[in-house]
Symmetry: D2
Subunit: 352 residues, 4 copies
């Protein structure tokens, strides 16, 4: 599609999400990683030396010797897009600096998700929100921009809710997550805390899961996002799973749907036209499993290369309308893969 | 209290719940195990030889050489009370045979829980339901009886709901369980299925969790139990935890309660007077943890010797009234310990 | 290479090794699975219905509807090669029946490994032992034959020992295994036995690990195998790892080698010429890791598609000559993949 | 035994070994904890606030409000004995300062274990080495002293070797450890590194396991320790077990012993007379299990309150004389409990 690859950088490249960016950008058809940045104490070191690689897929050879740059715009002159795997406190400060300097920042950090002029984007859900970028540039006087993807637990849930919302309306949802260890980064959760155990809390997570879907399911009225009216109650838990967040959800629909009807709607769900056919677009968007005991994180997290949302156990709910289980790969669809998909949409819409 | 110990037997003695019965009955102040029964192929073998002991507490010495008896009433003439750790299909047939032959059957099996004249009993919740035994004997012409304890996931949940129901009324509850491996018995869940994984379903469990609390929270009108009106929606999951079932619950109360008020009510909850002071009565009934990340199964499951219910994270729910987390030891309070507590209530009420 | 694919069958197709055969034979360039057999109670059922699939790679579509056949030669007339994932007691009886009926049986079972006329084969180690098939056919009057691969723990160990033996001689070895759960099949090890635990014994395993390498490192003198003189002491343990057996080894060499020299020899090791270039031949045979903490089963088990042997921590031994760690994928190189590689060698040598 | 309790302090009190000291010293018959010290940034905070408690046994109430002191001798005037759970770099500097100031330092750190005038002590093995304290005081001009306990993996191994050495002589040993997570402290091993995995290396551990037993099995000639001649080769591994180090050992004895004879010797082993009857003395010193699959860390680590050494699978070794498996609780016998037992011996010998 492109005559020459678009040069990109990864900020926070040594962390676990940073590693996933590097792994997913290896052989990307549009993007070429030309710069890796990390904290000051790693500056100048070859990537392989500064990074404790935790993925099963091996570190790409091109990354091994790449010297780590400082996280500032001056350090990476040729780059057009920066992928941010920064912790939220650093993202808060650095991402606007990059945007002001003309970079498109595709961020996995939570720092700007709630800003009214920043797209919170799942292309298969709300691709049209990408247009907020124009308002953001005007309002802030930036030649670059910030585009965010949601929290990893909000991700799969919102994809499923979108399919149902479009067909039946979604009014309320109860959701309980069983979240993987990789969601906490590296070193993250100590083994002494989680072996033969669960931790029934993840700081700040429930607020995100209760709010973010409302923005993504909201309507872009040409100026701003009108938050969707859906109300969500969330409990979040950490469990001894390496990758893949599972969410148990009960939802009240606007109009009745049988489990069979809902399953068909979920299975048939298509991304908005502008979000289809992009290199990272999930194929299919949603897989519906019919076995009594699926989805399971270890068996199903790599469905569609880790970009598909997997739904199972669709059944009637005695209080609301439906119950089901949603699984999504938290560091692929829910983090690095999501930011990359966002960047693809951004480029394909001529916004670069 | 008693001049001489009451002779008791354990049915299904070699399974994991059977083992827990033996461990908890070791040095029991009222009961003395005089017979152990198991499937026919183990008949006559010494217990230590027929049993793959899975508990960390060692097998009591008195049990090691006890020969396994067949599971029939004729085989155990001196016994007054039998504790049943039978699988439900066998319990269906054998428990009535024992009851008809004059034995009090304190059962952990699900086979008779839904019968209108069979007590489904958590003494700290509905001790007065023990009186159903008189109706059961009349109706069925039995000199013995069957008394059941609820499903292990219903157990802690119902204790917490009872405290709230008594103070504020409970109208609806949405609950998601994260259940321990020991709940599936031995050999139970294959390690290949659960390492780095969860299983988002437990056959038949959700129906029990949605119905059993209604019977236990129901009112005994002198003749029968009037089911409580509370409506429950349940999702049940298996996780890689050895012991201790965790339940995330959101509840709608009849009248408003702040998290603070609810915590106080939970903490102050007392068992009905006739259920206090029994050897297995939990001390206290409910422990409320105030840390952000508790209860955790590995750290909290042995609270009160595994008989207390532990509640934490009591907070407001955006859709209903409150959210909280409940932990209960599934093979102690939720199985063998529960049956023993039931037997103690039964004896103390002069029903033997 | 072949004009038309060779029709093959899998015996014991529903078990975990049987599944691995099916997964590895999917799109095999030479072999086409035309029959699947399992125990009598599954006969006639479609494979997908009779099988609890435990691999992360999905079940190939062609296998789903294939009806399960009984495990007898008459049931599969067109087949030339049968891959046996049978339990050893069944293999003992059924494999000779297939061999007598003209089938080449490539077996993962231990039943015939110790027979003097049956090749115990790792093509990258002792490819020339395949010639024993001629003696076997003569001696037993079979038109078919039985070819075996070693125990999964012997596998990687023997590959490493071979490289060292060829260069320096190997006189003695002390080995301790940390074996994966999948080595015990499905359902295999109960989760209650292995979470937060190890099991320091695997029945019958130590005898195999102490003897099998002697046969494979032995010399084929044209008539028979002369057992190698290496003496081995083995301890075997089960640990909470899904796939990948790790072996800690200390060895006494015939002539001195520094860790550096040994690493170079291991890294440079080549399979015998007739075993190279086959579809399942490991590329490379041995990978030597130089990090202080590798190989690790989760990170390294899929090296070379699970067919390579991974060695690390090569260092001096204070009692013998060298210490090192060996990792091998137990259900790929150590089981199904090994049998397939054997079959490839057998076919390429014109023995079919 | 004592008229009034001896005031003691714990250095490094907030770490995982520090916590174990506090737990084991709760209700100790001789010692009373009057001071807790930690790093400077915790100074002045109540213990419960500064400490992330990781033990299943709850934090003793007396410790909760105890303010953390700085780690220097002036801060704790009344104290006689300090238990050191310091990291080795801090221990290197601080322990001599305490010893010089008159405190008896019972240390779990490795910093001074190899000094010729510092006892490396397992009372049930080499109680008489406590006399080195007199030489140490003379040589260094200290009124206090430093007494060390060995590395957690050396501990159980050395107890077993001692029993065999005394009866038969021990000439050589091959040992491979499977070590628990708690041995790495807290936060220690990240869960992402160990779930579905092993780590085949622990920095610096193999050197300790190869050397420390030689000192403890050595003879005190009145002046110094003559190192024992036993030669040891060690491989050390981290596995997903919470507590309890397992060691697979093969040993060459000075004179032949059958597995039966060795088992009897192990079972009958008694501590030196001066080390018996102390409050923390293991009862018995060694438990020999005869089942084919024991010891297992989860089931056997608390044998004798975590102070006994558990040996199993005693059998012939094809290269040396015997093979067996040793289990020892790494944070009780192998760390805090060991230091406390050392302090008891020290006090009982009138050295305080």
């Amino acid at each position: 599609m492109l005559s020459s690859p678009i040069p990109v950088a990864v900020l926070g490249a040594t962390g676990s999400v940073g590693q996933r960016f590097i792994s997913l950008l290896d052989n990307h058809p549009w993007f070429k990683v030309v710069a890796l940045a990390a904290s000051d104490r790693s500056e100048g070191k070859p990537y392989a030396q500064a990074c404790h690689w935790v993925l099963t897929d091996p570190m790409p050879d091109w990354a091994r010797e790449m010297p780590l740059l400082p996280s500032n715009p001056q350090a990476m002159p040729e780059v057009k897009i920066v992928f941010s795997a920064l912790p939220s406190d650093q993202a808060k400060i650095l991402e606007p600096a990059f945007a002001a300097a003309g970079f498109a920042v595709c961020s996995n950090a939570s720092s700007y998700r709630t800003e009214s002029d920043v797209p919170l984007l799942l292309p298969e859900v709300n691709a049209e929100h990408i247009q907020l970028v124009r308002h953001q540039r005007l309002a802030r006087g930036w030649s670059g921009c910030i585009i965010t993807n949601p929290n990893c637990t909000s991700t799969g849930l919102t994809v499923a809710l979108k399919a149902l919302d479009q067909a039946f309306g979604v009014k309320r949802a109860f959701v309980v997550s069983l979240q993987a260890l990789s969601g906490a980064g590296y070193p993250g959760v100590p083994s002494l805390d989680i072996l033969d155990n669960i931790i029934p809390n993840i700081n700040g997570e429930e607020e995100k899961v209760e709010w973010e879907p409302r923005k993504m399911l909201g309507r872009f009225n040409g100026d701003a996002i009108e938050l969707a009216q859906v109300q969500i109650s969330a409990h979040t838990n950490r469990v001894a799973v390496l990758d893949g967040h599972t969410v148990c959800a009960s939802v009240e629909l606007g109009s009745f749907a049988s489990p069979q009807e809902a399953s068909e709607v979920l299975r048939a769900y298509q991304a908005p036209e502008i979000a289809r056919g992009l290199p990272s677009a999930p194929q299919p968007v949603i897989v519906v499993r019919t076995e009594a005991d699926r989805p399971q994180p270890r068996l199903d997290r790599l469905t569609g290369g880790g970009m598909s949302t997997v739904v199972g156990r669709v059944r009637s709910d005695p209080l609301l309308t439906l119950k089901f289980v949603v699984l999504s790969h938290n560091t692929i669809r829910g983090a690095a893969g999501g930011s990359i998909y966002n960047a693809e949409l951004f480029v394909s819409q001529g916004l670069l």
